[in-house]
Amino acid sequence: MQQDEFERLLAWLDQDRDRAGEKYETIRRGLIEMCRCRGCWEPEEVADETITRVAGKVKDVAPTYMGDPARYFYGFAKNVLREYHRRTSRPVPVNPIGPADDSEQLHMCLDQCMELLEPEHRELVLEYFNKDKKPGIDHRKSLGQRFKLKPEALRIRIYRIKKTLQPCIDECLSRT
């Protein structure tokens, strides 16, 4: 993408450069998620390709376009994704999600990374994943009561704890 195209793109998103930058990030992230959820293996590439192509068209489109530019990106992304699916042939999946990995190395890394969590977060994530507890809605409800979290908050909390843990585990596994 040329610098002048990028500048025009930002100006189209918002006259305020900071807000334009935020909108740019939101659009990029949203495109990545959309592609990811549609089974794309390289969502960042498709999102960036979309943005590059849209940037090349802003000069012609912006003067007459009505509404939120984000919608234009979305519409464009669907076509780019369609092209992507046409040109890539993926291997037939033989493994339903997630190969099991219960190696000692992984457990050791989990030991280390768990210790970096706040005690309450550690307790929460261990209880949440404890397979000895009957899982399901009742288990979540009792966890929510115990940790004083509403269902939505519990979901987000678990997600954030996992998000915190993952880089630590990846880093530990690459070291050992």
């Binding site: 939101t26 990811r36 794309c40 999600i97 099991a100 899982p135 997600y159 585990i169």
Partner: protein, 272 residues
């Protein structure tokens, strides 16, 4: 968009591929305009994967997660990570000492007068507990795991199985015509369950995993059976241990190098 549904339900339905095209596009448009919806999306996806790994998803939802759009390296990695966490948490909580809370017990332990009494009480409880555990272990009939391990030994099977279930096909949906439902009598001693293994099926060893709410049991099967062009895995279980209701099985293949691959999932309904 159906306004009666809350956002979590809407996102969940989206991830399960249940929204019609206009609902789907309406939600996806929000991805590029609203920053908050992305975190909710990620959290709901994460929860779905956790539920899949814990084996608590209904069969239809489970099958949706085994569809093509979920078979991306990134989502597979997330599932592997959730599975590892579940194994770790169960192991750790099963073996750990009580969590330190710094409350009542620390205060009591800090008083020298109470220490001998606490030690004596711990010794008494430990001894009693150990005695009860040993007594219970020796007196209790063997569980399904050990029962099946014994029954699966070719030389140990006394006669033919009294009933053969299957061959089961992978990915059966509860409530649909393809559901495998079997009636077994209370007196059946050895029930053989046959699993049809989809291609490619060339592993050094197979594992059949039976999941219930209470536990996960893993049975090793060394050799698959070739039957009229199909490849089948046979599992012999004691009929008394197949409770009425839904039973979920997964099959894993283990390559010569030790690489573990999930192959297929099966649903079986038992009635008596």
């Amino acid at each position: 968009m159906r306004k009666s549904r809350d956002e979590i339900t809407l996102i969940r339905e989206y991830l399960l591929g249940r929204l019609d095209e206009s609902e789907k596009e309406s939600l996806e448009e929000r991805f590029v305009r609203e920053r908050d919806v992305i975190e909710t999306l990620a959290a709901v996806e994460s929860e779905l994967i956790d539920d899949y790994v814990k084996g608590v998803l209904p069969a239809a939802e489970r099958q949706a997660l085994e569809g093509e759009v979920w078979q991306t390296p990134e989502r597979m990695a997330k599932a592997a990570s959730a599975r590892a966490l579940a194994e770790y948490a169960t192991h750790r909580l099963g073996t750990r000492e009580p969590m330190k809370r710094g409350g009542f017990w620390e205060v009591v332990w800090a008083r020298p007068l109470f220490q001998p009494a606490i030690i004596a009480a711990i010794l008494l409880v430990t001894t009693l507990g150990a005695w009860l555990a040993i007594r219970g272990f020796l007196g209790r009939p063997s569980g399904l795991q050990s029962e099946v391990s014994r029954l699966n030994e070719p030389g140990q099977l006394n006669g033919e199985p009294s009933q053969i279930l299957g061959p089961l096909r992978p990915g059966l949906l509860r409530g649909e015509t393809g559901i495998a439902s079997y009636h077994i009598s209370n007196h059946d001693e050895v029930i053989q369950i046959r699993f049809s293994v989809p291609p490619p099926a060339d592993f050094a060893e197979y594992q059949i995993i039976k999941e219930t709410d209470a536990r996960v049991e893993i049975f090793k099967v060394v050799r698959p059976l070739e039957a009229s062009g199909d490849r089948e895995l046979l599992l012999n279980v004691n009929g008394r241990n197949l409770e009425p209701g839904d039973h979920y099985f997964r099959i894993r293949g283990i390559s010569d190098s030790g690489q573990v691959s999930e192959i297929a999932s099966y649903t079986l309904v038992i009635t008596r």
